[in-house]
């Protein structure tokens, strides 16, 4: 008989209807979710990081140590990392801007992450964020300032904006899109709640009021509801008070903790909220638990390994990490697992050897990866889960060079072999076995319909695969695990074409008509999941159009949305099968450094992702997670 688990413990077998409702309702639990409570005053400063399970009661156990024993600081994190920022410690200058982090899955000591924007991070206690951005109030050195970091990388914090009130001992609660800050020591106490939108930067906006002016409240949240816990008025409080994060308004009484406490460490998963440690008259080891979604009084959950106060806390399941927030469709699973996109070569107009990479599931600017063996542009991309290959291009003469990198390891490219023809502005497509290049320009006024292939795991020269249905150049390739599709292009002399044709990777032969793009165009970019190929931008003249096809079927493309700006991201689209990104390209007046992204499974307009290292045109993008590497 199936074991239907509780909503705060996802082990067992779930009814699919319950899964859907839980995800869409924002209370899908995170199995084995960990809470970390770190440091604090005992009243000596401690580096101890304790952990406890948020789905089953019991005492905490030892996790490791902070890089610096400290208190009065904040905890942040994403699904994989717990991050701690700011604080005060035992020796001069006492205050610190330290940010350190641990990996939830691996017990051990914290490692250096970077620094806050101000050297005095004492009482940097207000935190929140989502999977890609963590926010923290800076503390005493900038008492209304807010910093942010990218938890998937390491590096120094960036200034985000200002709170509406200057003060420290702030509590923070978070949804995936919004962080709310409540209370403060100003040096009187404050009842102000204000908020920021995580995806933007800028100053906070008034949200409402706490039920009482206070400082030192702990904060925790589900994806929809934030709870402020305890605090000092100057009376120690047992109060639990909640807000609905997506709205604005005053906090409402929710229930009570077992003990009046200030400076408690708040932590949560989607269902359970916890207050742990704090000043109850002396440092305390308590862990209280309450149900965020229903409210009510807290119950005893267990004890921390040490009695401490002014500790920092975080979890890998807090309210900022629930994709089901407000009915947003949960992100599809990235079967391929690869998440790195690499752009190779290009021109601006200097012809480049540059390899630059991004982490597709996060947002941010491209970073240097290494160099190609030969500077060129108009080259073609192919990749499997391990290797990224670039074929041909213009040096400024056409070349048949193929070089490759190991996608997971930064460094320079190495020689792979040669194509059957020297050509440029051809399409590239690949699955885990074969890489194909199709069409392109061999020489002035001579386009080709030749399709070449290589076996990506075996270094060597390309071999003939077959021919396109229409001879053309400046076409783009995309793929599922079984099919390579080639879209658009320019047949010279002539104009942009709406042709889409396809081949089956495993079957050498000529391409077959698939259907038509919504807009005939060339110099477009492509990005795919295992079932959907998207095509973005191009020249008709220059357009912002994105359209898509369903790869396993045949038929005409359908409108998807628009790029943020009209441009020609030729061969500079790739994906992790969930998110498609499109980088750079000529906008009709100049080359650009823009990177946009889309969620392939949905439709809608592209959103800014970050910037290429430089403005760039006609580079080529590979990834270790694209649609040709999933399914099958």
């Amino acid at each position: 008989m199936a074991n239907y688990p509780q909503l705060d413990n996802s082990s067992g077998v779930w009814n699919l209807r319950e899964v859907y409702d839980a995800v869409m309702g924002g209370y899908w639990p995170n199995a084995n979710s960990n809470a970390l409570v770190a440091g604090g005053f005992t009243p000596g400063y401690t580096a101890v990081i304790g952990q406890f399970n948020m789905s089953s009661s019991g005492n905490a156990t030892s996790f490791g140590d902070l890089s610096l024993a400290r208190g009065e600081f904040g905890g942040m994190g994403n699904f994989t990392r717990g991050i701690f920022g700011g604080g005060v410690y035992a020796t001069s200058p006492n205050v610190t801007d330290t940010i350190d982090y641990v990996t939830f899955s691996t017990e051990g000591n914290a490692a250096d992450f970077g620094n806050l924007t101000n050297s005095n991070g004492q009482r940097a206690t207000g935190t929140g964020g989502n999977a890609t951005r963590s926010l923290i109030t800076i503390g005493a050195g900038d008492s209304n300032g807010i910093d942010y970091i990218t938890p998937t990388s390491v590096g120094n914090a960036t200034f985000f904006g200002d709170r509406t009130v200057s003060g420290t001992y702030v509590g923070g609660v978070t949804s995936p899109t919004r962080v709310c800050f409540g209370g403060a020591f100003t040096p009187s106490v404050s009842n102000i709640i204000d908020f920021v939108e995580i995806a933007t930067t800028g100053n906070a906006v008034d949200f409402g009021d706490l039920t009482v002016a206070l400082r030192g409240a702990g904060g925790c949240s589900s994806s929809t509801r934030g709870v402020f816990m305890g605090g000092l008025t100057p009376t120690f409080l047992t109060d639990l008070q909640y807000i609905t994060i997506a709205s604005q308004g005053n906090a409402t009484d929710f229930g009570d903790l077992n003990t009046a406490v200030r400076d408690t460490a708040g932590v949560s998963n989607s269902v359970n909220g916890f207050a742990s440690s704090g000043d109850t008259g002396s440092p305390d080891n308590f862990i209280d638990k309450f149900v965020i979604t229903s409210g009510g009084n807290a119950v005893d959950w267990g004890d921390l390994t040490i009695a401490t106060k002014n500790a920092a806390s975080t979890s890998n399941a807090h309210g900022g990490l629930n994709d089901g927030y407000q009915g947003t469709r949960p992100l599809p699973f990235n079967e391929a697992g690869g998440d790195r996109g690499i752009f190779g070569g290009g021109a601006n107009p200097t012809i480049l050897t540059t390899l630059q990479y991004v982490t597709i599931s996060s947002t941010g600017n491209a970073q240097e990866f290494g160099d190609l063996t030969l500077a060129r542009y108009g080259l073609s991309p192919m990749s499997n889960a391990t290797r990224g290959l670039w074929f041909g291009g213009l040096t400024p003469t056409t070349t048949n060079v193929i070089d490759y990198v190991t996608i997971s390891t930064q460094g320079n490219a190495a020689d792979f072999g040669d194509g059957t023809q020297s050509k440029q502005i051809a399409a590239g497509a690949s699955n885990n076995t074969r890489g194909l290049t199709a069409g392109g320009r061999v020489s002035s006024n001579y386009d080709t319909d030749v399709i070449d292939y290589v076996t990506i795991s075996t270094i060597g020269n390309a071999a003939d695969f077959g021919n396109l249905s229409v001879q053309r150049q400046n076409l783009v390739g995309s793929q599922s695990n079984s099919r390579a599709v080639f879209a658009g292009g320019y047949a010279s002399p002539g104009a942009g074409t709406n042709v889409i044709d396809y081949v089956t990777f495993s079957t050498i032969g000529n391409a077959t008509d698939f259907g038509d793009l919504t807009v005939a165009r060339y110099v477009l970019g492509g990005a795919s999941s295992s079932t959907r190929a998207t095509f973005a931008g191009g020249a008709t003249p220059t357009t912002n159009v994105i359209d898509y096809i369903t790869i396993p079927s045949t038929g005409n493309a359908t409108d998807f949305g628009d790029l943020t700006t009209a441009r020609q991201p030729y061969n500079m689209g790739t994906s992790n099968s969930v998110r498609g990104i499109f980088g750079g390209g000529y906008n009709g007046a100049a080359d650009t450094n823009t990177i946009d992204y889309i969620t392939i499974a949905s439709t809608g307009n592209a959103v800014d992702f970050g910037d290429m290292i430089t403005i760039i045109d006609k580079a080529a993008a590979v990834s270790n997670g694209h649609g040709g590497l999933t399914g099958g």
């Binding site: 005992t42 009243p43 000596g44 156990t61 017990e107 400082r215 004890d303 390994t305 009695a307």
Partner: protein, 94 residues
């Protein structure tokens, strides 16, 4: 029945089963003070047999500790060893 106030450390990263309430005032080696389970004969790293013994022990490593001044969060006051000893001893069951 009775319990004991003892010095102890975590066992394999976990709180010993014979500690009822602990984790108080750890030193740099994470030797902590706690109250054992009622009826336990465990003495851990040593029993502290009186409130004054707790205070004397605290004085061996907490003489430089400070705490936030309850009247001024921007100031500190010396750690009150006597108050801490009294707090710990309040967990003693005779």
């Amino acid at each position: 029945m009775a319990n004991k106030i003892v010095k102890y450390q975590l066992e394999g990263g976990t709180i010993p089963t014979w500690i009822e309430d602990g984790g108080y005032y750890p030193d740099t080696n994470e030797v902590m003070i706690g109250a054992t389970v009622d009826g336990s004969s465990e003495t851990g790293l040593g029993e502290l047999v009186s409130e004054s013994a707790v205070e004397t022990y605290l004085d061996t490593y907490t003489s430089t500790w400070t705490e936030e001044d309850p009247n001024d969060p921007n100031a500190t006051v010396p750690f009150d060893q006597a108050q801490a000893a009294s707090y710990i001893w309040s967990k003693k069951i005779d």
